[in-house]
Each structure stands twice: as C-alpha cells, then as structure tokens.
Amino acid sequence: MKDKILEVKNVYANVEDKEILKGLNLSVKKGETHVIMGPNGAGKSTLGNVLMGNPTYDVTKGSVKFMGENITGEDADKIAKLGMFMTFQNPIEVPGITLSNFIRSAYQNKMGGRIRIFEFKKKLKAAMEKLNMDPEYADRDLNVGFSGGEKKKAEILQLLMLKPELAILDETDSGLDVDSVRTVSAGVKAYKEETGGALIIITHSTRILESLDVDYTHILVDGKIVKTSDASLVDEVNRDGFEKYE
C-alpha cells in the first residue's frame, strides 16, 4: 500500500496515568478525508494529540507510522516536518512575533531554504483573502487579542500556507458563528484542492462538513473506533446520537 500515509496500530495512550486510548486502529491514504465523531471524553482530542506528538500523552502500547516512518513517541517538530499539521482548539497567544513572521519561519523550517519576502507576502495575502481575514492581522502578534473566530482562521491560514500531507482539525468549528464556519470550511476545501492533502476532522457538528467530500466516518467510543462507514454515518449520528454505541 504505497499511498497509505498514516497507520495507527492498536494504540494505547495515557494522560497522567489515566488510560484514554484503548487499542485504536486507523489508516489514512493520501488525499482521504476522515471524520472522527464520538461522545465527550471518548478520546477524540487525545487521538489528535497523540498523532501530533504531544509529550503530555504517553503511548503505552502500539505504534504510529506516518509517511513510512515510525513516529511513536517522536517529537512534535519532527512529525510536523514530515508533513503533519494540527489545528488547536485554543491556539496560544505569543507576543513578540507577528503572525506573518511566524508563518514565514515555520514555512522555511518545513520547506527548507529561504523564501523571498516579497513572494511570501504575496502568497500570504492571497491566502488571507480566501479566509476573509483583515490583512492587518498579518502584522499583529501571533493570536494576541484575536477573537475566537480570528484564532481559528489564523490556524486555517497556517494550514493553507504550510501545505501538510495530513491535517488534523480538532474541533475547529466549535464556538464559531455560521459565517465563520462557512469561511473556515471554504479554507479547508481550498487546502484539499490545492494540495491533495488528507484530513482527519474531529468534530461535534456537521456544519463544517457541508462543503467537503467525506470518505470515511469513524465513531470513537471509550478509546476505540467502534464503527467505520462512509459519509452517511454522519447523518445517522446526527439523527440518533451515540447511544447505541455506548
């Protein structure tokens, strides 16, 4: 399976000695869109954090392979350089560096080599337009004083600029108004179209999915994937909830 980019095998993971993931399996091929749904506390965000290499989470068993490399227990920066990206539910504020300079250095880190400032600014401006972002945000300190919606947009802006092989969207749509969800969703769609990258969308709601083609939907309950199906599962969950899986 050459185009398999992510393979999660029987992963068990703890946070502060509490077992959250209990034998999780998942595989993602190039360009696929996977949706992860599940009740609160099932381990959805833990999955994202484990994949991205958050050191707060301990993988006690199993393995994660990404882009052909074993990344179990690897540092987040190495995983990012291999082409994984995750949007955060609560992006942190970093005074002292502008959004633009931050993305530029992350971009250079990932792509290697330097990008000319003029060329970079042009790309950044185009991406910001897609997200209806006020260009003035580029020169503001990273996430400092951004509204919830602007922070989420700034995350999607980084997604558009960094063009990862696999993007994990962790509850990107939560707390956003209808218009912002639409904008964010359009941004995610642009990412898919421009890069052919794969997506893992962790979500409670379906609004963000409206303009995207979903290949697989997984139900995550108590640390395991209990059901996998196509996009139609999303509607079913919306109708019936998770009760019958719990």
Partner: protein
C-alpha cells in the same frame, strides 16, 4: 526563528574575543591615596576634583559592604586594577585613527555601522578611557554637547559640571558610590539646550577588555527646559577567570517639560560584579523613561532611581533581567515622589534558568506634599526550571492619603501547551522556548530601536539554545 538580519550572527564568541593588554598602560592593583593622586595627575584634574576624589576614598574606606543583597565576597579590591588605558591613547573623532585592534573590537560589536545608520552620536570607551567620540554636525549645530567628561572639565561647561557632578549620587549614598567618586574615569557629558529635540539617539558603548580591572565611567546628562533626548548605553566584556568590577554612575538632570529616555542593554561577562548606580532628577512636567535589559554579570546591584521633584513630573521604568547559571542579579528601581501630581510606572520581567537567581527589588516613596501622586508597580517572573530562583521585594512608603498606588506581581513557568503548539509548527523545543521567552520580554524589546531589539532577542536565543543543546 531563522529571521536573518545583520546582527543575527552575533554569538558569544564576539563578546568573548580578548585583546592582549600588552600595549596597555595600567596602574598597580588595589586602592591607595597614591593611586588616586596618580589618577588625578594622569587626568590633569582641577583642584576641586583632586580633593573630591580623596574625600571619596576616605569615605570608601570607612563604609561597610552592603549586607542585604547578593554575596560579593569574591570581590577583593586589592586585586582590582582601577585604571587601564591603551598606550598613547588619545580620543579621536575618526574611526580610522583608533588603534587597529580596538577598532576591530568595536566593529565586531557593530558600533561604527550603527553610528552610520541610526545614531546621532557615539562615544566608545575601552577600559578606562574613551577612544572615540563623535557627534553629527547638524546636532552639534543645535548647540548639543556630547563629549567626554575629562576634557569638558577644562572647557566652557566646567562650572556646570562642577555644579552637577555627583550631586544626585553623592559618595555618601553607598560604598560603591564613594569608590566611583574616588576613581571614576571616562564616560560622557551631554548637554541639550532648552527646546532642542534630538531626533535620533546618542549612544555610548563601554567595553572592558583588561582582566581584573574595574570600569568606573561617569555619565552626566543635562536635558534643559523643554528639550528631548534618547541616550543608549551598551556594555560588554570578554570572560576571564578573575573578578572584574563595574561601578559606573549615571546622573540625569531632566529640566522643566523636558523628556529623557535612557536605554541600556548590558551584556557583561559572567565574571563581572556590576555595582552600578543611576539616578534622574525630573523637574516640573518633565519625564524620564528607563529601558533596561540586564543579561550579563556574575552579580548585579542595579536600581535606577527617579526623583520626581516638580509638579507633574513622571517616570517610567521598563526592564528585563535574565539570569542563567551562576548569576545572582538583584535589579529593580526606585521612585521618589516629592511633588504633587507626579506619576511613576514600573513594568519589569525577569527570567531565570539553570539555577540562576533573580531578585526584583523596588521602592516607591510618596512624600506628604506629593498630593494626587500615582504609582504602579508590576513585575512578572518566569522560571524555566525548578533549580532557578526568583524573588520579589517591592517596598512602598506612602505618606499621603491622596495617592493612587497599585502593585501586581506574577511568577510563572513556560506552559507545556505553548511549547507543544509551536513545536507542532516545526519549531524545535529550544526555538519554541526562546520564542516564548522573547515574547515574555517584549515589554522591553518593543521600546528599543529595532537593531537593539533584534540584538536583545539574539541574546535571549543564545542563552536559551546554548543551555539546552
């Protein structure tokens, strides 16, 4: 961050290059009447200064070492050389006339380049004497004086200097003020005439090259009524295994409705005892702003003081102190409100790592006549590991009911979530932490001219990445 700029390539090695001092003229170590008189002779001091130095020496000998701050046992005055100058030194206003080796040192530190690009005037001191002093013609034409104190003692401003010299920082202040009075050498004299606004900053750079030496420069600045000045001070030294001492003095006289901003980036080597004294006196409606970045030295005692003497005078202190392993930095500031409607603001950050020790010490005094005074002190500390230490000692002495006083202190650690967030974008752990620390210190960096802000962030990165990698 790989944001390249001209100063991005600084690393410790630039500060650490030592020049041999075979060509230097130096006094014997220790402190005696003979040495002080020899210094007066060397400098051709006027009679009052000769007497003053000897008076200060007596006071120094009769005063005890401070008992309340970091230990200074490692400092033995018998081993400190009070005066070292390049042989056949003369101060010039042309870099090409500065001795080659010394010129190269300042070039490495980026001083001549900064002068061309962003400064109105530069003074460069090497050990005990100035080797270079220059002021742009258009600033000179406005009547601004920027020179070394020694030559001005024999010039038209001699009387003005006599009236002000060590009046804000009398030798009675403390043992090292007395020491300074006895052996001061070098530094700058600045006078800005009434109403003159100096648009771009002046800078003095102090480089201590000689091992086991002391640097005792005196900076005296008088900003007359309604005038405006930004002065930048930079300091560095290569590292030696024996103690070096810096006991400079800065006296700022800020006239009615005048504005003075005094910025310092201090990067002494880690064998330095930095026992420096800075004071400003601000008249009615005037303001002083201190911007202070303390990175180097083994031990520091540093508390810039603002005396708010006239109605509506104000002071603002913005500082950051970074202590790494083996450093014990006791820094802070003082504000003394002597008149109504005076205001003082203090905003400091301190960072400690690898067992470094930071003490923030402040004192706000509001006298009974200072009705409607306003003071606010805010300090935040960041400890990067569990072996480092941070203390906060704010003192307030408020003697009127009609004052508005606030104080806020916070101590914290770098959040793991923040580091993970930045690493998830491809930054290494060191880079992520350096970025967070730079951001934490941005109260200071955003107040500095761009080149200095970049240099400061480079120093932070150097401290951060050096220790982890």
């Amino acid at each position: 961050m790989k944001e390249k700029t001209r100063v991005d390539d600084v690393d410790r090695s630039i500060y650490d290059i030592k020049n041999k001092d075979k060509d230097a003229y130096r006094f014997d170590s220790g402190l005696t009447r003979e040495i002080v008189m020899q210094l007066s002779e060397e400098k051709n001091d006027p009679m009052w200064m000769r007497k003053f130095r000897l008076k200060c020496l007596d006071m120094f000998n009769n005063m005890g070492f401070p008992q309340w701050g970091p230990a200074i046992d490692g400092l033995d005055m018998d081993n400190i050389v009070t005066y070292v100058r390049p042989k056949d030194n003369k101060m010039v206003a042309d870099w090409d006339e500065v001795p080659e080796e010394i010129k190269t040192t300042f070039e490495r530190l980026g001083i001549p380049e900064a002068e061309r690009e962003s400064l109105a005037g530069v003074g460069a001191q090497y050990d005990s004497e100035l080797v270079y002093h220059n002021l742009k013609e258009d600033v000179k034409a406005q009547g601004v004086i920027y020179s070394d104190l020694e030559s001005e003692l024999h010039g038209p401003y001699a009387e003005m200097i006599h009236e002000h010299f060590m009046k804000l920082i009398p030798p009675e202040d403390h043992k090292f003020a007395a020491l300074h009075g006895a052996v001061w050498s070098g530094g700058s004299f600045v006078y800005v005439p009434p109403g003159v606004k100096v648009e771009i900053p002046l800078q003095s750079y102090f480089r201590l090259n000689a091992p086991g030496a002391g640097q005792f420069e005196h900076t005296l600045i008088i900003v007359d009524e309604g005038a405006d000045l930004h002065f930048i001070e930079g300091c560095s030294a290569p590292k030696y295994n024996i103690a070096n001492l810096h006991a400079g003095a800065v006296e700022l006289f800020v006239g009615k409705n005048a504005k003075m901003r005094y910025s310092t980036i201090e990067n002494w080597s880690k064998n330095m005892y930095n026992l420096n004294t800075k004071k400003a006196r601000v008249e009615e409606g005037g303001s002083v702003e201190w911007i202070s970045g303390s990175f180097g030295s083994h031990v520091s005692y540093l508390y810039p003081t603002s005396i708010l003497a006239g109605r509506g005078a104000s002071s603002e202190f913005t500082g950051v102190t970074f202590s790494g392993g083996g450093q014990d930095l006791d820094t802070g500031c003082k504000a003394i409100h002597l008149a109504p409607e005076t205001t003082s603001f203090v905003n400091t950050r301190s960072i400690s790592k690898d067992g470094g020790k930071n003490t923030f010490r402040s004192s706000v005094v509001v006298m009974p006549q200072a009705k409607n005074a306003k003071a606010s002190v805010s300090c935040e500390s960041l400890m990067l590991d569990s072996i480092s230490r941070s203390d906060t000692i704010p003192a307030m002495d408020i003697r009127t009911q009609d004052a508005d006083i606030g104080h806020e202190a916070k101590i914290g650690r770098i959040s793991d979530d923040a580091v993970f967030y930045l690493m998830s974008r491809g930054l290494s752990e060191e880079e992520a932490k350096a970025l967070i620390v730079s951001g934490f210190a941005d109260n200071v960096s955003k107040e500095l001219p761009l080149e200095y802000a970049v240099e400061m962030n480079n120093l932070i990165r150097l401290e951060m990445v050096g220790a982890i990698g």
